[in-house]
Amino acid sequence: MDSFSADMESDAESELIDLGAVSMTALRELSGTVFRQALRHVMQQTVHPQVTAGGGSEAERVD
């Protein structure tokens, strides 16, 4: 499934909920279907993190 609005004319909309106006205290109490989906979405993203490494051979990795 594509993770953004397919309408190329409007803004690109993500699956990430905006917590800019949410306090830590409020965040602890959030619940609901959309919030649960958002949690699953970011947890899923951690399964395969994007890692980039270059400029050296295997023996010269900086990581």
């Binding site: 409020a26 279907t33 270059g54």
Partner: protein
């Protein structure tokens, strides 16, 4: 609990992060402004808050996960207090790149139910270290406990207190009162200095380097301490000495001036996008660097040999960081882990995600060297012109394959199209003919080196060719070679980038002055006399040298490709064509013949024979 939606699209009362297509297209074209980067940062903040909540929820189910440390509730309450007193202190901690890597790493441990580098309570308990550091930034009075790894108590963004400890994994207490902070355990205590960036007894401060060029400022932490500063696993501190810090400071200062001078339009965005560097030791003739999408704002960089290299690397990593943030918002390609692409910046086959990242990062590198080369003063900068021509050619080549790949989403195709809009016109910009020849040689060298190691020619075709050769035929019957095959993940032989290194050394010299190359070629790792002969244009000597190398080791990839390059330099077209276009076939046929007869053909005779019917 629903959240006010402001001007965003509401979904069940929640607002969703959005990005305008104008910002998206600007990022694709490499002209994204600081505002677009800050919008990516805001999204990262939300993402990290969600991960914090998810981690606390997961660990609350199993209170013993926190071991000897307090529960997650205590850390959360401290973070809430921080936010009440100083929202910016909380934001600083959420923006810290290694808050992201810690959250991702620990979430993977919890999801997979495995233990990491340390006991699980050390990893989940890092939440207390983040809360303590935020409380120190906020100037709160507080008391908590944090993990102690090999005697080091890390306070992210601030520094590391060193305490004696009997166990590799234990606990330290942190007290903050009226601006004074003490970290201690039963064996010792450390009073943090007033200026936390300064070292003191038992304290290593994280140093901040601030570079100024005109009105543009780049301010970064030089983080050699944070356990989550690496790509994959937590790592112990690797403290830089004062001389190394000075060297980094000088290099960064010069590199920042170069960026501001040559790419003033994106300097502000780079400043918004990079806030932490992980310094690593220099690697001769290499410029390794790395980043992860989980650490928005951070790059791991080996100490470069000069400021221009560092400037190019900063631009490169800035592109990776920006794309990493964008990919958290918008899917540009579907999941496809198959390592099926050739890229000139890696020796191994890459999956589409790595290819997209590489194309975007080297598009940035191309732009930097282009601007540097065009700024040409009285003496044109040969190195900048060479690097520009090399990276524009190679990035364009890969982009041409990538843009039609069905795994890209519509947004992915739009993004790649945006890169192409800028990169395409650069293909026609003039570069001195002498440098174009060298660029072509470096490109052909790497591509042939990749083919010979990662492509396996069809067994039937190899057998046909070997049989035809042994039968003395002018050509085999109906052999088809020009099929793009899927690369194998395991290389058939090792590779040496020595020839490319030597060519770069020759480029660094003024024309007709090869002092640097002659003086230093033997220090290039893996360089042979044949490589040196090739880099100095002595193609007959080079071909002789590669024949001798193959007589010793008939499988050596770099010798087969080197022979092809040397023969190309001599104008021996059919043999050179086969060796550079189908080196894997020539070597495989040679191997087969060796198993069937004692009369081993000369490599170039066989290559010339195959080259007569391959194009």
């Amino acid at each position: 609990m629903p959240v006010p939606t402001e001007d965003h699209t509401a979904s069940d009362g929640f607002a969703l992060h959005r990005l305008s297509w104008a910002d998206f297209d600007d990022l694709a074209r490499g002209v994204g402004r600081a505002g677009a980067v800050l919008r990516l940062r805001r999204a990262e903040r939300s993402r990290r808050l969600l991960l914090l909540r998810a981690l606390v929820e997961e660990t609350t189910k199993i209170p013993e996960l926190f071991g000897p440390l307090p529960s997650s509730d205590e850390a959360w309450e401290l973070l809430a207090r921080v936010q009440e007193k100083s929202p910016s202190a909380l934001d600083l901690m959420l923006a810290h790149p290694y808050t992201g890597t810690w959250a991702g790493y620990t979430m993977r441990l919890l999801s997979d139910r495995i233990t990491g580098v340390c006991p699980m309570w050390m990893h989940v308990g890092h939440l207390h270290a983040l809360a303590a550091a935020a409380a120190i930034h906020a100037g709160l009075d507080f008391h908590t406990h944090i993990p102690l790894w090999n005697g080091g108590a890390m306070l992210p963004t601030l520094g590391l207190a060193q305490l004696a400890a009997d166990s590799p994994w234990s606990v330290a207490e942190v007290h903050g009162q009226r601006g004074q902070v003490e970290v201690g355990n039963e064996a010792a205590s450390v009073h943090l200095p007033p200026d936390l960036a300064e070292d003191a007894a038992g304290w290593w401060g994280i140093q901040r380097l601030t570079m100024r060029a005109g009105e543009h400022v780049l301010s970064v932490r030089l983080d050699d301490l944070d356990p989550y500063r690496g790509l994959y696993e937590p790592v112990l501190p690797q403290r830089l000495g004062p001389v190394e810090v000075d060297a980094w400071s000088a290099l960064l200062d010069q590199a920042w001036r170069l960026i501001v001078h040559h790419l003033p339009d994106i300097a502000e965005a780079i400043s918004a996008g990079i806030d932490s560097l992980v310094p690593r030791p220099a690697v001769p003739f290499r410029m390794p660097s790395a980043s992860t999408g989980e650490a928005f704002g951070s790059a791991i960089i080996a100490r470069p040999p000069d400021a221009a290299s560092l400037a190019a690397t900063l631009v490169h990593e800035f592109h990776h960081i920006g794309l990493g943030g964008l990919l958290h918002l918008i899917r540009l390609h579907n999941e496809d882990p198959r390592e099926r692409f050739y890229t000139p910046w890696r020796d191994d086959p890459r999956p589409i995600g790595g290819v997209l990242q590489g194309v975007y990062a080297f598009f940035g590198v191309t732009e930097f060297w282009r601007a540097f080369a065009r700024a040409g003063t009285r003496t044109p900068n040969r190195r900048a012109a060479f690097e520009f021509a090399h990276w524009r050619d190679q990035t364009w080549r890969v982009l041409g394959v990538l843009r039609d790949d069905p795994v890209l989403t519509p947004a992915g195709r739009r993004f790649v199209g945006g890169i192409a809009q800028r990169l395409g016109p650069w293909q026609d910009e003039p570069v001195p003919a002498e440098l174009r020849t060298l660029v072509a040689a470096v490109g052909a060298d790497h591509y042939a080196g990749w083919r010979i190691r990662y492509l396996r020619p069809p067994l039937e075709a190899v057998a046909d060719l070997a049989a035809a050769w042994l039968a003395g035929r002018a050509r085999p019957v109906a052999t088809q070679l020009d099929i793009d095959r899927t690369p194998t993940p395991v290389p058939d032989g090792s590779w040496s980038p020595a020839r490319a290194d030597l060519i770069r050394l020759s480029v660094a010299d003024p024309p007709n002055d090869r002092n640097v190359l002659f003086r230093t070629w033997s220090t290039v790792p893996g360089a042979t006399a044949a490589d040196f002969a090739y880099a100095t244009g002595r193609f007959t000597d080079a071909a002789r040298g590669y024949r001798a190398e193959l007589a010793v080791d008939a499988d050596r990839p770099a010798a087969w490709v080197g022979l092809g390059l040397a023969l190309s330099g001599l104008g021996v077209k059919p043999a050179a064509r086969a060796l550079l276009r189908y080196p894997e076939v020539v070597r495989a046929v040679h191997r087969t013949i060796r198993t069937r007869t004692r009369t081993v053909p000369a490599p170039e005779d066989l290559a010339a024979w195959i080259g007569r019917f391959t194009y």
